[in-house]
């Protein structure tokens, strides 16, 4: 009788675990499958590309294809495995002035990253890092920290631009950015500038590729355009210029302009792509208290 009871319990547990596990594995398989396909495509096309970069895959880009340019920026995470650098991000309109340092490294399908944001060259406003299933963040000005368990197994989705903007029957629009679990805080404004890829570049008659040039040793695509009326009111600027890294889609620099005056500026000050480096990790001071949102 005892054996029978034990058998039924075991079968019950296995069945429940299988139902849960199969859904997770199915999602994971789809994502991994997409990544492998992309890696093969990159390898096949590498020889035909004009730009020469060391230590990284070469990803061809047709500069006459506006959607391809948008997709390069929108899906930037798919085009590099490691990046280390910093940028300056400031606005005359709002008055912010940030320096952002970042490190991100994918190796053997595992990711580590670290981001530090400093305001006005003196106040560290936050630091965050991810390593082996744990996201850590500290907020020095309030002496708080967070520790979040999250298992990041892939870079996330890659999307076609046609899938991103959806007009609803009530006239509102949905902007469906690619799903990713990478949370790089302020660094996303350069490394994964999804809002600019979709928003600034939504109306294709308002922008053109002007040229390519070298910036910090990288070949960048220079895009010039006019902001639509929504952005003109919001950003208090009329035109914009973007400098997008051609191979990875990283936004190296951007300016918004009104009356020949720069209103917002993001400018990369150094960058290394697909080179070897160690990734820092956040150290939580013992005097900090935990912060738990949503309670």
């Amino acid at each position: 009788m005892k054996k029978m009871v034990a058998s039924i319990a075991l079968i019950g547990c296995v069945a429940i675990a299988s139902v849960w596990g199969s859904a997770e594995w199915s999602d994971l398989k789809k994502k991994i499958g997409k990544q492998e396909e992309k890696a093969i495509t990159v390898t096949v096309n590498a020889a035909t590309n004009e730009i020469q970069q060391q230590n990284e895959n070469i990803n061809p880009l047709d500069l006459k294809n506006q959607e391809a340019i948008q997709e390069r920026m929108l899906n930037s995470y798919q085009y590099f495995n490691s990046v280390k650098g910093s940028f300056h991000y400031a606005s005359k309109d709002i008055g912010f002035d940030y320096t952002v340092n970042y490190q991100l490294k994918w190796k053997n399908k595992k990711v580590k990253y670290y981001v530090k944001t400093v305001e006005n060259n003196k106040n560290v406003i936050d630091e965050l890092s991810y390593d082996t299933g744990e996201l850590k963040a500290i907020y020095p000005n309030v002496k708080k920290y967070e520790k979040i368990k999250v298992d990041i197994k892939s870079k996330g989705e890659s999307k076609k631009i046609g899938e991103v903007v959806v007009k609803n029957s009530d006239g509102t629009k949905e902007y469906r950015y690619p799903e990713t679990q990478l949370n790089l805080g302020m660094a996303e404004n350069s490394l994964h500038s999804k809002e600019i890829a979709v928003g600034f570049l939504e109306e294709k008659n308002l922008w053109t590729v002007k040229r390519t040039e070298q910036l910090l040793g990288r070949q960048v695509v220079v895009i010039e355009g006019t902001l639509n009326s929504y952005y003109q009111e919001k950003l208090k600027a009329d035109t914009f210029t973007l400098w997008m890294d051609q191979n990875t889609g990283i936004l190296m620099k951007y300016e918004t302009i009104r009356n020949e005056e720069i209103i917002d500026l993001l400018e990369t000050t150094n960058i290394k792509i697909d080179e070897e480096f160690e990734v820092d990790i956040v150290t939580i001071p013992t005097t900090y208290d935990i912060y738990t949102p949503g309670q």
């Binding site: 009788m1 005892k2 029978m4 009871v5 039924i8 319990a9 019950g12 429940i16 859904a23 199915s26 999602d27 606005s91 709002i94 008055g95 912010f96 940030y98 305001e119 406003i125 936050d126 996201l135 963040a137 907020y139 000005n141 309030v142 708080k144 979040i148 368990k149 999250v150 298992d151 609803n168 509102t172 629009k173 949905e174 902007y175 469906r176 950015y177 799903e179 990713t180 679990q181 949370n183 790089l184 805080g185 302020m186 996303e188 404004n189 500038s193 809002e195 979709v198 928003g199 600034f200 939504e202 929504y230 009111e233 919001k234 950003l235 917002d264 912060y291 949102p293 949503g294 309670q295």
Partner: protein, 177 residues
């Protein structure tokens, strides 16, 4: 035989708990269902929203249902938060959106998190940043929850961020995959 009956009953109760989410579930918590929750949902100061900090109630023709909450650049050093307390939903993934339109919304790293609040502290199933300053006007997609669980959506302003932070409507599309 009695042991067998007790075990069967326990398995049945466990299965029922998993199926129905254990705690009050959203009526829209089915594959293909949608929940929309505004700021000050259905009433100013609604209990559907939790506010931490000086979030000002404002009317605006471009906002969802004509209003939103706005947090100007905080002058003091503390963590501010605005929550949309969706009913708990287990068994469905959440595809989460926030409505961003008002031109004063300019937080460059608005931090959104989704929690399933069946336990305290809740399980975090989404953690996403959005640049409200450069975001286009409309429903901006935050992403899909990492588990088939949704609940409270929290907009967290953990630093004295320059620029204003906006809280308007939020939406969850539920799916079984």
């Amino acid at each position: 035989m009695k042991k067998f009956q007790v075990l069967f009953a326990m398995l049945f109760v466990f299965a029922a708990f998993v199926s129905f989410g254990g705690i009050q579930a959203s009526a829209a918590c089915v594959n293909g269902g949608t929940d929309v929750m505004d700021n000050d949902n259905n009433a100013i100061g609604s209990s559907d929203n939790v506010i931490v900090g000086p979030w000002e109630y404002q009317k605006s023709t471009n906002s969802f249902r004509g209003d939103h909450r706005y947090l100007a650049s905080p002058s003091t050093s503390t963590i501010y938060e605005y929550d949309w307390r969706f009913s708990s939903c287990s068994g469905q993934y959440g595809h989460v959106y926030v409505y961003v339109w008002d031109t004063k919304f300019t937080n460059q790293q608005a931090s959104y998190r989704m929690y399933n609040n069946q336990t305290i502290p809740g399980t975090q199933t989404l953690n996403v940043y959005l640049n409200q300053r450069t975001a286009p006007g409309g429903w901006n997609y935050l992403g899909k929850t990492t588990q088939a669980k949704t609940g409270v959506l929290a907009l967290v302003v953990p630093t004295a961020a320059s620029g204003g932070t906006g809280a308007d409507a939020a939406k969850i599309d539920y799916s079984s995959y």
